[in-house]
């Protein structure tokens, strides 16, 4: 089962770990700020496009580049090995160790070695010593890294002091600089005595046969210098074509990883370097340099039509640093060896689909990570693809499976939603803002409603209401097809009514074509097949020439119509129609902004056209819905439109673009996480001192409104369409 009691227990343990929560939370707050500072004056889009292009070239040609890399190294006297998997690596290393009668191996950081559990397999051959401080600490207690760049971020200094005390056999105080000095002294001896040095690398340049390490502590340099033998573990995805491509990586990797302009050390090794005979000198000899090119699922990844995009990863870990779920639970829950969203993809190939199952389920599909990725990888989309692949092997559990299958069956789906109106009516109570809420549910369902109230379903869905709505279109300019989406249709039909009135005033008649679910829930649960079915059921009604625009007031639906239908209908006879729909689709707030700008002049002048039933100034803040902001790139438009209303006093809340925790079916699957995300959102809303929080997504609205109701808050949550309609 994808989300089972084992995962739930891990999630709950992480959520109640104050050290983890403190460390990750603080880091999550600080990282985006320091990162932005170090990228000042650099065009990030241009840079990451260049990186993505350079990596794409490598991916298309990686076998030939690996050959070139190997040939160049051999010319210089290096010994190059190819390893299919971990077993090959163990064997090669054991042979090297035997030939040199090696007792100690010092390691600088290598994620490949973590991925194949190298230390464990070689511990009977020689002593394996991690020399990166964080790696050394977790090695003492047999833990796995919880972050790709800061492996021990989950441990407090007190815990580190305990680990030091035990490892060194004496009491060590939790004083960080003292611990660092102790590590220097302890590991220095290992460096002096080691027989083999083992390193990972950040780049492998085919043109020159160069391996590049970006490090800060200096352990990479010592590992490459002190022992008479040096072994590099190189994953195929680390290849770069040209020597000068390294400049791109040097510009992005340290900035994205640790918010540094450059790491303390960048080391380029292209052949067996000088070393001292018998480790002490003075006679100088050449080292024995081994390079092991490791496959372990990489060839499959790099040739996969969908997932090869993940080969563009630089392992900077900035996607974890900004991920709201990672910030809550860390890399031992959201990760296997490689943490976070990208980790769930890599694990699927380097380990197995089964091992990534729990990991990929953690992603709430907020889309934030993609905006930060220097490899320009659409991580959230790939996670959905991974989920789809995993689901083919491991089916969904009961509740979610029921939902997905109901989506396919149009009649049953609509019947079910209607029945919900009378079923939920039994539990509905009126809230402070006059809306009907469900504050608790019977049986096992209470876990869904005990942390935020749910809306009572409307007795008359929007699809009925529009039939009797009188549309007064002044100076008619055209016709708009409205895709309502399930939440507006059945829970919040009044938002649909507001949308109609606002667009009427802009000169557009609104039609409501026959429609069913947009299919997004199926996509987010990993059922592309169901999504395709559902898209097909909708497409004919929307692919019509008479519509000037297709609009939705739910960004999740907008993304479905604009992007996902094209993806799922690719190669079917509906592909052309999907493209037609995509071209005309935009989100409500974007359409309003466009129309008002088109009318010429500033938004301010036209703001007077809004019929507002208030003479008083109101304080309004705005929550950025993930799919609107990160997927559709609409961030300024709602602010411009709201600020242009003379009666609105706009206040920016803290962290306006942080996920509210709704995530569609996610809040059914992992309510523990959703709840934490919502808590933080509500706090930011309350602290803004706004009277109204405006949102553009009915899902966020449901979540935030429910949370505010549960808290007995005086703040009202409204859809932007309602605000523009003057209905509050």
């Amino acid at each position: 089962m994808p989300v089972d009691s084992v995962l739930k227990a891990k999630v709950n343990k992480a959520l109640s770990d104050p050290v983890l929560r403190g460390a990750l939370g603080k880091f999550g707050d600080e990282f985006p700020i320091s990162r932005a500072r170090v990228y000042e004056g650099i065009d990030f889009e241009e840079l990451r496009t260049a990186i993505a292009n350079a990596k794409k070239e490598v991916i298309e040609d990686f076998e030939a580049l690996a050959d070139q890399f190997e040939a160049n190294l051999k010319k210089r006297g290096a010994i190059v090995h190819r390893a299919k998997d971990g077993n090959d690596v163990y064997r090669i290393l054991k042979d090297i160790a035997k030939a040199h009668n090696a007792k100690v191996c010092v390691k600088s950081k290598s994620m490949v070695s973590e991925e194949i559990h190298l230390n464990e397999h070689l511990k009977d051959t020689m002593e394996m010593v991690e020399t990166d401080l964080g790696e050394w600490i977790i090695q003492q207690v047999n833990e796995k890294p919880s972050h790709m760049v800061m492996p021990a971020i989950h441990l407090s200094k007190e815990r580190c002091a305990e680990i030091f005390s035990q490892a060194l056999g004496r009491k060590v105080e939790p004083d960080i600089s003292q611990m660092v000095q102790l590590a220097r002294q302890t590991l220095r001896n290992h460096f002096l005595n080691a027989d083999i040095g083992l390193s990972g690398c950040n780049a492998a340049i085919a043109e020159t046969g160069t391996m590049v390490m970006f490090t800060n502590e200096g352990n990479g340099r010592l590992t490459a210098t002190m022992p008479p033998v040096h072994v590099f573990l190189v994953g195929y995805e680390k290849l770069l074509k040209n020597f000068k491509d390294l400049a791109l990586l040097a510009k992005a990797l340290p900035r994205s990883a640790t918010a540094q302009a450059l790491t303390s050390y960048v080391t380029l090794i292209s052949g067996p370097v000088e070393t001292l005979k018998d480790k002490v000198g003075p006679e100088v000899v050449h080292k024995e340099l081994h390079v092991i090119l490791v496959d372990n699922g990489r060839r499959e990844l790099l040739t996969d039509p969908v997932f090869k995009e993940a080969g563009q990863c630089t392992r900077c870990a900035s996607c974890l640093n900004v991920c709201p779920v990672y910030q809550l639970v860390g890399g031992h829950v959201f990760g296997h060896i490689y943490a976070g969203g990208i980790g769930s993809l890599l694990t699927g190939f380097f380990n197995s689909l089964k091992e990534t199952d729990h990991v990929q389920e953690m992603c709430i599909s907020c889309g934030r990570c993609a905006a930060f990725c220097p490899g320009k990888i659409d991580i959230p989309r790939l996670i959905l693809e991974m989920r789809n692949r995993v689901r083919k092997e491991i089916p969904l559990p009961g509740m979610q499976n029921f939902i997905v299958n109901t989506l396919k069956r149009r009649g049953l789906f609509q019947f079910g939603l209607r029945q919900a109106s009378w079923a939920t009516a039994l539990f509905a109570k009126e809230g402070k803002d006059g809306n009907k809420y469900i504050r608790s549910l019977p049986f096992g369902f209470n876990r869904l409603a005990n942390w935020r109230s749910l809306p009572a379903f409307s007795s008359q869905p929007f699809r009925e209401r529009i039939k009797t709505m009188k549309q007064e279109v002044v100076n008619k300019r055209g016709k708009v097809a409205f895709f309502g989406g399930c939440v507006i249709d059945y829970a919040y039909p009044e938002i649909g009514e507001s949308l109609v009135r606002v667009l009427n005033r802009e000169g557009y008649e609104v039609v409501y074509p026959d429609q069913t679910c947009c299919g997004a829930p199926a996509i987010y649960m990993g059922s592309m097949d169901v999504a395709r079915e559902v898209a097909k059921q909708n497409i004919n009604e929307f692919a019509k020439d008479e519509f000037d625009y297709i609009v939705s007031a739910c960004p999740t639906c907008t993304v479905a119509l604009k992007d996902q239908w094209v993806q799922v209908l690719k190669g079917t006879d509906s592909e052309a129609k999907a493209k037609q729909v995509s071209a005309k689709t935009l989100d409500f707030i974007k359409l309003v902004s466009n129309l008002r700008k088109e009318k010429g002049g500033a938004l301010k002048e036209t703001a007077a056209t809004t019929h507002v039933a208030t003479s008083q100034q109101i304080n309004v803040t705005y929550h950025d819905s993930c799919h609107l902001n990160w997927d559709l790139g609409v961030k300024e438009e709602p602010r411009e439109v709201l600020k242009a209303q003379s009666h609105i006093n706009f206040i920016e809340m803290n962290e306006s673009d942080r996920c509210c925790g709704f995530g569609g079916s996610y809040c059914i699957k992992l309510p523990e996480i959703s709840q934490e995300l919502l808590k933080r959102k509500l706090k930011n809303i309350e602290e803004s001192k706004a009277q109204i929080v405006a949102v553009d997504c009915p899902g966020c609205l449901m979540n935030i409104r429910g949370g505010l109701d549960k808290q007995g808050s005086n703040v009202k949550a409204l859809h932007t369409a309602q605000l523009l309609d003057g209905k509050y």
């Binding site: 460390a23 880091f27 210089r76 020399t131 990166d132 401080l133 964080g134 600490i137 800061m150 492996p151 021990a152 407090s156 200094k157 580190c160 960080i176 600089s177 660092v180 590590a183 220097r184 590991l187 220095r188 460096f191 002096l192 043109e207 020159t208 160069t210 800060n216 502590e217 200096g218 352990n219 340099r221 010592l222 490459a224 210098t225 020597f243 000068k244 390294l246 400049a247 040097a250 640790t258 302009a261 450059l262 303390s264 050390y265 960048v266 080391t267 380029l268 090794i269 292209s270 052949g271 067996p272 370097v273 000088e274 070393t275 001292l276 480790k279 002490v280 000198g281 003075p282 100088v284």
Partner: protein, 197 residues
Amino acid sequence: MLTKTVDWLPYLPQGLDKEKLYQIFKEKAEAVPVKVIRAKDKAEAEDSIVQEMKVAGIKNAVGVPMDLVDIEAIKEKAKAAGITVSSELNRDIIEKAEFGISEFDLGIADTGTIVQDADSIHKRLVSMLPPIHLAVIPTKAIVETFLDSLEVIQKAYKGNPSNYIAYITGPSRTADIERVLTIGVHGPATLIVVCVD
């Protein structure tokens, strides 16, 4: 005769604004933090190296043969101050020294970085084992960007870079415990760069 196998100077980009690049280099390096000193000639550079050792209270230092300064002259001047400077290639001597002196080939203004052909084991040990590292670079060899440095290397080695090229930006550092920045893990905790005109 030069101590290095490949001279990078002939391959610098044309028309560098030496003063401007030096100023940027100094500002960026100091932020990392690195102590940056400028010397107008060999003798002044040697004096400031000895002065740095005196200030740090050094007893035992190590260095490699260099072009920009004369290691023998440094030894002499240091001796007068009671400091022993060894240029012997012996790991244990270098490991016990408190101060290492070596020459680098290039500076990068953008990031305050120094770059070196470090195939020589002697150069590497002197710059990585002692807790203080002092590097001399030619002031005129400061380029603007990382990319510029790669181009110089490509040209100087005709597409076959030396086996070990080292880029150093500031002291050795870690933030592995509670993300608290701590200087001086495995490499030097202090980096001093003397730019020789």
